[in-house]
């Protein structure tokens, strides 16, 4: 286990000031570490990795890490990533989005990227809230919980991000939490090596905005609660129905063989040019 942090330090941008901007205890830092470990374990060169992010807390991640990094507009990270991947399929393109980013303003793009099955790894960091703008409700804010724009409790049902991705045709869908860093490493590296669209939903609770409004005093409280609630897919099947409602299920929901869109394009080109 030793030297993990040392390894991560090798990937960070030394010209950037650390510690990073995330609140104390924010899971986004853990995700960044996990991402670096995954890329390292796959033996990818820094030059070949493009990190694309949207706007919001999650959008701040790429600036700290020494890959090719693109910080795009709100919700549109997947569209930029699509362009990059199609233009140069040799690159490993990893997209980092928040829940509002990916599902609210960028919902359309997520749906279509999943449908297209383009070879991107999409990490959706779900914190159930708009953190950077001060804690407004998002499309994943659980029913009944409070935020600055739902002072009397959320009335709308929440999105199940993994389910959305699955029904839209994504060929790899998994959910993990920041409290299971090793599981997260595995999920991220699988998503990266997966030929089609690989989406990993990462529950990374925001105690500063979400916790404060919903009776979680510290990040530790929040993580304890998360640890208690999260169950693996196998264990979930054994749970009695009344306990299933609240559980955060982790694991792989979908994994099927496929050909990425960029590969299909390459094949079509070869065929048209008669180079088979």
């Amino acid at each position: 286990m030793a030297k993990v942090t040392q390894l991560i330090h090798n990937y960070l941008r030394h010209s950037k000031r650390f510690p990073h901007v995330f609140c104390p205890g924010c899971g986004h830092g853990i995700v960044l570490g996990s991402l670096i470990r995954s890329v390292h374990s796959l033996g990818l060169a820094k030059d070949d990795v493009v990190l694309v992010a949207g706007i919001g807390c999650s959008g701040r991640i790429p600036v700290y890490v020494d890959f090719n990094s693109v910080h795009t507009t709100h919700g549109r990270a997947l569209t930029f990533a699509t362009g990059i991947k199609m233009a140069n399929p040799r690159l490993t393109v990893i997209v980092i989005m928040g829940d509002g980013d990916a599902l609210s303003i960028g919902g359309n793009h997520l749906i279509h990227a999943a449908r297209r099955n383009i070879g991107l790894a999409a990490l959706v960091l779900n914190n159930h809230i708009y953190g950077m703008t001060g804690g407004q409700s998002s499309c994943t804010t659980p029913l009944g919980s409070y935020s600055t724009t739902t002072p009397f409790g959320q009335l709308e049902e929440e999105f199940d991000i993994s389910r959305v991705a699955k029904v839209c045709g994504s060929s790899f869908v998994a959910r993990t939490t920041v409290m299971q860093a090793r599981h997260m490493d595995k999920m991220i590296s699988t998503a990266i090596t997966h030929p089609g669209f690989g989406m990993v939903e990462i529950i990374s609770p925001c105690h500063t905005q979400f916790g404060r409004k919903n009776r979680f005093k510290t990040s530790v409280d929040m993580y304890r609660w998360l640890q208690k609630k999260s169950v693996s897919l196998d264990k979930f099947q054994e749970l009695p129905p009344e306990k299933r409602k609240d559980a955060v299920v982790t694991g792989i929901f979908e994994q099927k063989d496929c050909i990425g869109l960029e590969e299909k394009h390459a094949r079509m080109r070869r065929e048209l040019r008669g180079e088979t």
Partner: protein
């Protein structure tokens, strides 16, 4: 082969304005198109979808909306491709956010906007010139931009090549304004010999990666741009950034960036300014027009000359940066200027601003979805 006096490889084709845009784009080295179909620009997408996959590495992808279209184009351009998209009014409105992104991150791309009657859905198959000011100021914040217009089918081809050259040379989005008439007119055009066509491709850095500054403030104001994955790792962000590309809020660095963005266009103004002076040498009454209206104006000016009026036409090919010197020259020369436009006066406002009360400026506006006829312009000229 080079030593032999080779026959010029020009071809004549009978093509739509939209198809000419595609020919121009391919000639300029475009290998990536992403977009969303919208009347009256669809032929560009259709033609691209048939042509690009036959090229080495050519990619055509139809995205879920215009926002995604321009997003993918920016991504592809970052990855080193010459990329373009095409749209029309409603799609152009959706794209504005990403135009701003391309301005601040200095990503070269070409956006063809085939103007149709607006606002909103308007009249999808009727021409207009209502997007002129949107092309200039559509995206928020101060930014420089290059806006070109094309009036006939041959010009569609040339202007597309020019648009790509400007985009690559100045690392900026270039907007090419067409109108429905030009886009949907089929004419005979000459495809120039690829060897005789001036094509500029972006400069890439040639220093060791550690020394590379992605947004360096050099003499040209444009720093070289490496494709993603070529060893020059840098940060691209829509936030105001320093010369390393990292977000900054230091007033000095913010000022430096903004000034440089404007300077890189301003100091090459005379390279970018393109106007045609037609019968202007001795003109006393001058028509200033662009796009398809300039063609009507050309006939009107000819007819006016036949009747003894000393009329001239200043045809604007570059709309922004506004060709102020060329317009000022005509203002000094002619006591009367006529600005026919298929909008309520978007360009005449610029001309009036430059005119500053020196000459009489008459506007001639038409917003009923019909093209301004030569007769209309002629009678305005004859009225004086």
């Amino acid at each position: 082969m080079a030593a032999k006096s080779r026959k010029k490889r020009t071809t004549e084709i009978f093509a739509l304005g939209n198809e000419a845009v595609v020919e121009g784009a391919l000639l300029a080295g475009c290998t990536f198109y992403a977009g969303y179909p919208i009347t009256p620009s669809t032929e560009i997408a259709e033609e691209m979808s048939a042509r690009l996959p036959r090229l080495r590495g050519g990619v055509f992808i139809q995205m879920e909306d215009e926002i995604a279209g321009l997003g993918a184009v920016i991504g592809a351009s970052l990855a080193g491709r010459k990329a373009m998209t095409a749209t029309s009014g409603p799609g152009f409105s959706l794209m504005q956010e990403h135009i701003g992104y391309a301005c601040i991150t200095e990503v070269p791309l070409v956006l063809a906007n085939v103007m149709r009657t607006g606002p909103s859905t308007g009249m999808p198959t009727s021409p207009a010139q209502g997007d002129v000011q949107q092309a200039r100021w559509g995206t928020h914040g101060d930014h420089p931009i290059i806006v070109l217009s094309a009036g006939d089918v041959q010009e569609c081809l040339h202007m597309t090549v020019t648009a790509f050259n400007f985009a690559e040379k100045y690392r900026t989005p270039v907007i090419l304004l067409l109108d429905e008439v030009t886009a949907h007119t089929r004419e005979k055009i000459t495809l120039p010999d690829p060897d005789d066509t001036y094509v500029f491709s972006r400069l890439t850095p040639s220093m060791p990666p550690e020394w590379y500054l992605p947004y360096e403030d050099n003499m040209r104001g444009v720093s070289p741009m490496p494709p993603l994955g070529s060893g020059y790792r840098y940060h691209v962000t829509g936030l105001i950034h320093d010369d390393h590309g990292y977000p900054t809020s230091n007033p000095k660095e913010v000022e430096q960036l903004m000034q440089r963005l404007f300077r890189k266009i301003d100091q090459f103004f005379y390279d970018i300014q393109m106007v045609d002076e037609i019968m202007c040498e001795d003109a006393e009454i001058c028509v200033i027009a662009y796009g398809c209206v300039a063609r009507a104006a050309e006939l009107a000016v000819q007819q006016a000359r036949e009747r003894g009026e000393k009329a001239g036409l200043l045809k604007l090919k570059t709309l922004f940066p506004f060709p102020r010197p060329a317009v000022e020259k005509m203002i000094r020369k002619c006591p009367t200027l006529i600005v026919p436009e298929m909008n309520m006066g978007q360009m005449s406002r610029e001309i009036k601003r430059v005119n500053n009360g020196q000459s009489k400026i008459h506007t001639l506006n038409r917003v009923d979805g019909q093209i301004i006829t030569p007769g209309q312009i002629l009678s305005r000229i004859l009225k004086g």
